[in-house]
């Protein structure tokens, strides 16, 4: 059976039989897409294009949600405005040769919405940096080590933040370029920051400290597996 099984798994695009060690909960977006395909729409039976992901309007016959394999970094002490600093890493090497990455979306999940700004006139500042190559990690200043990828400020943090990283994901197909990202959430400096520092750190980081996890949703297409089915004779 094992030989036959491995042949069958190979035909399904799997190099070996998976044996999940710590299976993550199934993301609701995948359940939604799966259940929608299970129950074809009565208005266009058999017309669904299963090689296109309608929910994201991109071509694709494989949708993967990668769990973050990175770790927390915390260079600042309790007295800084830095609420969170984390290395994010996703093992995109599982994508097979010939698969075309058509979309990559970073999802940051928080425990709850935050309805309060960190302080009067304060906002949360979120930055994503490309993680530096090992050769640059020894440089003294973090700024010299990192390349800013994107920066966004939020008066209040939403439960789920989404960022389009399609181009970054395509870069990561080259293993030597996949060094991950550094996520940084801090409170903006500016008026009243000294007052902020006067409060216990937990207070002005309330909201950011409810960070739960990061994941990367990737849609890819295997052109060879999306041929038109044989026509009825």
């Amino acid at each position: 059976l094992s030989t036959r099984e491995s042949l069958l798994l190979k035909s399904l695009g799997l190099s070996a039989k998976p044996s999940p060690r710590s299976p993550a909960p199934v993301p609701s977006v995948l359940w939604r897409i799966f259940q929608k395909r299970e129950i074809p729409s009565p208005w266009s039976p058999g017309q669904e294009d299963a090689c296109r992901v309608e929910e994201f309007n991109v071509p694709g016959n494989i949708v993967r949600v990668f769990s973050d394999q990175g770790h927390f970094l915390h260079s600042g002490g309790p007295r800084t405005l830095l609420c969170l600093e984390k290395h994010l890493y996703f093992t995109l090497s599982v994508l097979e040769d010939g698969e075309q990455l058509t979309m990559a979306q970073l999802q940051l999940q928080f425990g709850h919405n935050s309805y309060r700004a960190p302080g009067p006139g304060q906002v949360f500042e979120l930055r994503l940096y490309r993680a530096p190559p090992p050769s640059l990690r020894e440089l003294p200043s973090p700024a010299a080590r990192r390349r800013l990828l994107l920066a966004q400020s939020f008066a209040q943090l939403h439960k789920l933040l989404l960022f389009n990283l399609t181009q970054v994901g395509r870069d990561w197909r080259t293993p030597s370029r996949n060094l991950g990202l550094v996520l940084e959430i801090s409170v903006s400096s500016g008026t009243g920051s000294s007052a902020l520092l006067g409060r216990p750190p937990g207070n002005f980081c309330a909201g950011a400290d409810s960070f739960l996890d990061a994941s990367l949703l990737v849609v890819s297409l295997q052109p060879g597996q999306c041929k038109a089915s044989r026509k009825k004779r």
Binding site: G13, K17, S19, P20, V26, F66, S229, R230, K232
Partner: protein, 113 residues
């Protein structure tokens, strides 16, 4: 001389029910959904004369004729899938990532000679 023996309808080429249960093949701990699905398969005869219901190619019609003339020398045409459907499978891969993948041609909808 050729002879013509009537064939019972149930033995004609058509889809037969086949349910694949992933737990039967020991895949239930990594396939999240579905738990199984109706894959079906094709089985049955392609007798002379081929009727339109048997969804045959011109070549199959020719072959049944030759088979009726020389049953030992030329076999009947094969009964094969002619219309298949895809399925989508939700599973964990070898890095515990959750994958939703679409597989073409996994369900036999129609058979033909």
């Amino acid at each position: 001389s050729s002879y013509y023996a009537p064939v019972m309808p149930s033995s004609l080429c058509k889809p037969r029910r086949l349910y694949i249960s992933f737990s039967d093949v020991g895949w239930e701990n990594w396939i999240i959904a579905p738990q199984g699905y109706m894959a079906n398969y094709c089985l049955g005869e392609c007798p002379f004369p081929l009727t339109t219901e048997l969804n045959s190619t011109n070549h199959a019609i020719l072959q049944t004729m030759v088979h009726s003339l020389d049953p030992e020398g030329t076999p009947q045409p094969c009964c094969v899938p002619v219309r298949l459907s895809p399925i989508s499978v939700l599973f964990y891969d070898n890095h515990d990532n959750v994958v939703l993948r679409h597989y073409e041609d996994m369900v036999v909808d129609e058979c033909g000679c």
